[in-house]
Symmetry: C2
Subunit: 431 residues, 2 copies
């Protein structure tokens, strides 16, 4: 029998129990052995009252009861946060226990320590639920695409922001109203700033890229920009005038051994499949050198999708535990000594959507394009709509590919001109 301890029995933990009870027969057939959750730990005593009767005697409030139980082979860590979770996971390793976690912040921030320690103690840590909820994308990267050198990953990794952007685009809803609606429907947390600012996506692309490129890419090395400054106006211009949709993309690319990695609102061509990924859904678009382009889509969050991913990890890991091979080979093929070069955001070369707000006077366009040209930024398309009688007019440009630092210098210079009436807006374009 494979004996499991569950630490942190909130929404996802209770979903895990539900799945195991409901599908016990098929789960045990897949593992090849009985699987039992023998201890459940949560700091909140009221959790015990919500447990199915059979689990009430397994409840405890001190996580050390789980970690010190010599019969437990596998610990499911669902406490969230990083400090306490790190302690739990590292202590589980020391006790020779394998771990399943959904904790993206923990993994992305302590990747090296976690995998080095797991190796040291000959145990495994699985983490399918940490990225993309119920979408088996960690497994796809790790196993399904194992024959490939990964060339690029484009991810819609955050359901809250994708929901907001979808509402803005499809229903012409301003940002604040879309955010309120997301909150009301449970797609946004009470404090959604980690989502809105792209921090959640940064954790997730850190994990995906660290697997794909075989070396830890720290969240602090990843440029992240949120959607808080995206206006309805820019979304509508992008769609109606240029055929682009705006998505918060997490992007990681291998550019000849130098890794380009960034999170920001991005315009993508409406023909691209990612633009059809709407509402709270997530998707990860991966290009491999053999498989070509593949995409994985599904619910990026929620009790049952996350529990689905946790239980699929539990099944796979339990099978390895029962066969006594768990830990003989690391789950993630990653080299703590491999150093990869991260390209600075200033060096990134993309196309830009730029919206200037200027006075309506002759010569403005030539002034702006002159400054852009001086900084090696050339213009692919320009739109200046006559809005007679207005003192501020928008001028919208799509640039050819240009280097980020050149664009930033040009925009700074333009924003300092007297003709500029408010800070210029830019959104990067992904081809």
């Amino acid at each position: 029998m494979v004996k499991i301890g569950l630490i942190g029995c909130g929404t996802v933990g209770q979903g895990v129990l539900r799945i195991i009870e409901k599908h016990r027969a098929s789960i045990e057939k897949r593992v090849g052995a009985p699987v039992e959750i023998v201890k459940i730990c949560d700091v909140k005593r009221k959790v015990m009252d919500q447990l199915p009767a059979k689990y009430k005697n397994s409840f405890c409030r001190d996580y050390r009861e789980v970690l010190n139980d010599p019969e437990i082979d596998l610990v499911i860590e669902l406490v969230g946060g990083t400090d306490f979770a790190r302690e739990v996971v590292l202590e589980a390793f020391r006790q020779g226990k394998h771990v399943v976690t959904a904790n993206k912040a923990l993994l992305s921030q302590y990747w090296d320590e976690i995998f080095v320690q797991a190796r040291k103690f000959g145990v495994l840590i699985y983490f399918e639920a940490s990225v993309g909820g119920g979408i088996p994308v960690i497994q796809a990267l790790n196993d399904g695409l194992a024959a490939n050198k990964i060339e690029s990953i484009l991810g819609i990794l955050n359901g809250t922001t994708n929901y907001i952007l979808t509402k803005m685009s499809h229903e012409k809803m301003p940002f604040a109203k879309a955010l309120r609606l997301a909150r009301k429907l449970g797609f946004a947390e009470r404090n959604p700033s980690l989502d809105i600012k792209g921090i959640d996506s940064r954790h997730k692309i850190s994990i995906l890229a660290s697997i794909a490129f075989g070396s830890w890419i720290k969240p602090s090395e990843i440029y992240a920009e949120g959607i808080q400054k995206i206006s309805l106006q820019d979304i509508l211009y992008a769609e109606e005038e240029f055929g682009y949709a705006v998505k918060l993309l997490a992007i990681a690319k291998d550019d000849n051994g130098s890794i380009e990695i960034r999170v920001h609102p991005t315009m993508i061509n409406k023909e691209h499949l990612l633009t059809s990924v709407n509402n709270q859904f997530n998707a990860i678009y991966i290009r491999g050198d053999a498989a070509g382009e593949t995409m994985y889509y599904g619910q990026g969050a929620g009790q049952m999708p996350a529990a689905s991913a946790v239980v699929s990890d539990v099944i796979d890991l339990s099978r390895n535990i029962f066969n006594k091979i768990a830990g003989t080979i690391p789950y993630v093929h990653y080299d703590p000594y491999k150093k990869i070069k991260i390209k600075n955001i200033a060096e990134v070369i993309v196309k830009y959507y730029i919206r200037f707000t200027t006075v309506d006077k002759p010569g403005v366009l030539s002034k702006i394009s002159g400054i852009l040209g001086k900084h090696h930024v050339s213009i692919e398309a320009c739109l200046q709509k006559g809005q007679s009688g207005r003192r501020r007019v928008p001028i919208i440009m799509i640039t050819h590919k240009a280097k980020e630092k050149d664009v930033m210098r040009a925009l700074q210079e333009i924003d300092n001109l007297a003709i500029s009436k408010s800070k210029t807006v830019y959104i990067r374009i992904e081809e």
Copy 2:
């Protein structure tokens, strides 16, 4: 070391060799041991000339040289067809060798025999490349969604037909011209009838459904209708008047233990993500009871995508072989004694798009709707465009959900009327 024999070294086989040479280091790290292709067999002698120098001495033309080599642990079967391939696979099992195959016809037609024999000899057979080319969907069903009861699968499983339907829709190209273009670009075989008629999709949905529902669903039990009768006119009506796209879908659903499984041209709402799967791409949309809706997208065919899937199987299987656990648990969790009920197509209940061609006379519409009503088919929407001066006019209807056999009886009765000027066209709608 894990020693491999390759039987059938055509396009995909040569792709497999390329990947193994290119990514040997990372593959061996994942396996935990060296991996070597020690024998390559093909009936065509000229294949030897195309092999990289290091493999020339490993070439043979008699497959028994591979199967009788006691050092070989794993056989990659890429010969295609069913009779000879079946012999190769069963003999490999008898010799205690594990198998990786891309052969969808073989698997769907001999599922029971193959898995019973594999179990008997304690070996495994992997087959990721048999469905969806480079998309790791077999793995997703088998492992990533292992915690789920699968409720439904909707698949665009054939690249040729999806390419043709995309060209018809996006470029208003008639069927015959789109087929010629597909041939020219290599997206259709010289004899594309297995693709066009839905037979290829039938093999593939047989495999997916047999895994998902844990019991062999024979191709002969699956209703299949191709795209050969789809006219440009119906595609344009569907899109422009009703907001539907037409796709060749393979559908499998668990309706309370009775399995509904069918392949046919299908109208789906343009909001559905599958309608954005275009050209030669494939996608599989799976609903599980915990994960909810997930989708897997990519190249359904082609040398390198298929080779990517074969090599990912080789890596996983080699790891199990090296750890001496390959065969302890079956790869597919399937019960040869489980009998599931397949719903007859006549009992299926869906909405229909129906196009009648009638004379332009008063009373026609009431006559048609009367007959439909008599057969319990009610109308949700109706479109009759005035086309003055024409002797034949189209009347288009979208029905509410109705039973297939009722619709067929009604259409037969209507087609027998003097007012009907040609056979009524119908396309099922998936909500």
